[in-house]
């Protein structure tokens, strides 16, 4: 198997927690992985990106080549479009629908969504509302991970195990909420992918 994932968002949105969960699941599956992050200046509310590469064979480049990403997983809709040249033909674009507006010239959100819908393989999910509905607003990123999970060749049970191991120190209630968040995201994608 091979999954090359571009993770995108805005500094402070915590995309690295998604990367850590995928990484943990990959290690449990004895897969090779490389994950490259952005630190420093961009973390101050700027656009951030992480490259996550998981494979049953050794991974060479730390960055995903343009035109080769299997999916773009974005916790912010406009940011999902920034890395489009990295997506392979037929790759999936999975994004949260909630805009993070910290700039004056943020485009019309409907136009952003229209642009996303131009790609046949897309999922737009209101992860923030789903997380709030289960009274766990902080689990929005795990909803996003759930939404991406059907497109990553790692067994569902391993993602669950990874979530358990990462959140275990925070108590069983938080673990349960995050598993619920993961399942809701996953089910949304399974129902909405064409």
């Amino acid at each position: 198997m091979k999954s090359d994932i571009i993770l995108s968002g805005v500094g402070g949105q915590g995309i690295l927690s998604i990367a850590t969960t995928i990484g943990t699941a990959a290690l449990m599956n004895d897969l090779y992985m490389k994950q490259s992050e952005v630190h420093g200046m961009s973390q101050r509310g700027g656009a951030v990106v992480s490259n996550m590469r998981v494979s049953s064979n050794p991974v060479a480049s730390d960055v995903i080549p343009m035109g080769k990403a299997d999916l773009i997983l974005s916790v912010e809709p406009m940011e999902s479009l920034r890395y489009i040249p990295y997506l392979k033909p037929g790759g999936w674009l999975i994004t949260s629908s909630s805009p993070f507006v910290n700039i004056e010239d943020y485009p019309d959100i409907e136009k952003v969504k229209e642009e996303i819908r131009k790609y046949k393989n897309h999922i737009i999910i209101d992860a923030d509302s789903i997380a709030k509905d289960i009274k766990s607003a902080r689990s929005s990123n795990i909803v996003m991970l759930g939404a991406a999970s059907p497109f990553i060749e790692i067994e569902e049970s391993l993602f669950i195990k990874a979530i358990e191991s990462i959140f275990k120190s925070k108590g069983s209630e938080i673990v349960a909420k995050n598993i619920e968040a993961f399942n809701l995201g996953r089910n949304y994608s399974l129902q909405n992918k064409k």
Binding site: Q35, G40, D62, I84
Partner: protein, 533 residues
Amino acid sequence: MSRVLLLGDEAIAQAAIDAGLSGVYAYPGTPSTEITEYIQNSKIAKERKLHSDWSTNEKTAMESAIGMSYAGKRAMVCMKHVGLNVAADAFVNSTITGVNGGIIVVVADDPSMHSSQNEQDSRFYGDFALMPMFEPSNQQEAYDMIYSGFEISEKYNTPILLRITTRLAHSRSSVELKPMREENKLKLPSDMRQFVLLPSIARNNYKKLLGNQIYFIDEAENSSFNKIIPGKDKSLGIIACGITYNYLIENFENHISPYPVAKICQYPLPDKLLKEFTDMCDEVLILEDGYPFVEKQINGLFGNSKIKGRLTGDLPRDGELNPNLVAKALGIKENIDLKVSDIISNRPPALCPGCGHIDVFNSLNEIMADYGPGHVFSDIGCYTLSALPPLNAINSCVDMGASITMAKGAADAGLLPAIAFIGDSTFTHSGMTGLLDCIIEKTPITIIISDNSTTGMTGGQDSHAFNRLPEICLGLGVEPEHLRIYTPLRKNHEESLRILREEIAYQGVSVIIPQRECVRTLERKVKSKKAEL
């Protein structure tokens, strides 16, 4: 043996601990910061009481490491590439003194300037200082090079330079660890004059260093990190340095190149190996992240028509490489059809909401409107972001500490008022000496030390200025009535305008210290306090 998931930076830190390190010395700087932070947070490092406190700047870090080496123990120094400019005096002389306990200097270069003001290539510094160098291609090699690097350092009586770039520093992969070694015992140098660089001794040491070069080259010729990987198609050979090796093999099925490859990760360059390799191939493409360091050496003064690389335009002259740029240089056709939509806006980094620097700039901008543009000299830190809209507040950012000295030069030239804007940690790093120059000459200058009590841009490391800024300024000779301290909050706007007006009017050295903690470190403290309750 255990396998763990580590950033390149963390692999370096873990390797140093495992190799019997006694102290790490560093000043925070992206992308090198996480090396020292990892050691600060390491349980075993705490048990062993390894030194890991931050240094005031890279020069004090480098010198402390030489001192630890003098005492027989293993020391590591970490910095970003421009930090090596600050440490250069000690760095270049450290090959003349040689070592007692092993020294490794880790320098993280930042090609493409993700978080820096230039993309200088530290390999030139290593060459300049006649120091053996490593340049890992992956996290495991970074670990192995540090682990065995200390032995090489002690064996050849020389510090070692380990050069990484941003990509490797901040990329995570699994690393296999080696057994943990004991620290060195305290032991004086066998030659008590080794570290006394009087000309007569230095001449002798320098001859020894020159004589050792042949052994450094020998090490590189026989290094397991330098190797030729055979390929059938000899119409082209590829020399791939450090991480560029990954970008190369990414382009081939099963990562097997049809062309012969010389993978170079240890310097000085193994000339026999490279001569043989170059002779064997019709053309040679050189891949290196940073400056064309290897390309220039192989070209020599008169060039070599076989050689292709950054100087011939086959690869861009600037910026970091990636698999796509390498594919292009190899003539591999790629289909990258998708273009970024033009509805997307840029999202540059910005000062955090609630940041104290913003309040200071709001006051300063209001006052400076009376004088027209071009009077504010600034420095390296979060506040450099004020050069961008909406603040548009500063006119310079060159190197650590340059705000004060540039403002001084401009004042000397007659450009008045001359304002310097610097952060607390940058001030203790390199601003204090400039302030002393101003005091000696009673330069008409207004220095704002915007004190957020931390090293903010790199993630909130301890600032050496914490709780002692006024005392430092008074000690250097700032007049007490022209040392003004206030809290930058919206409600204190009028007070700050008044202070700025009064001090700009003063025709001597004024220091204004707006003092309010970084909102990020404050938030973290509140969170961890809550967690305790």
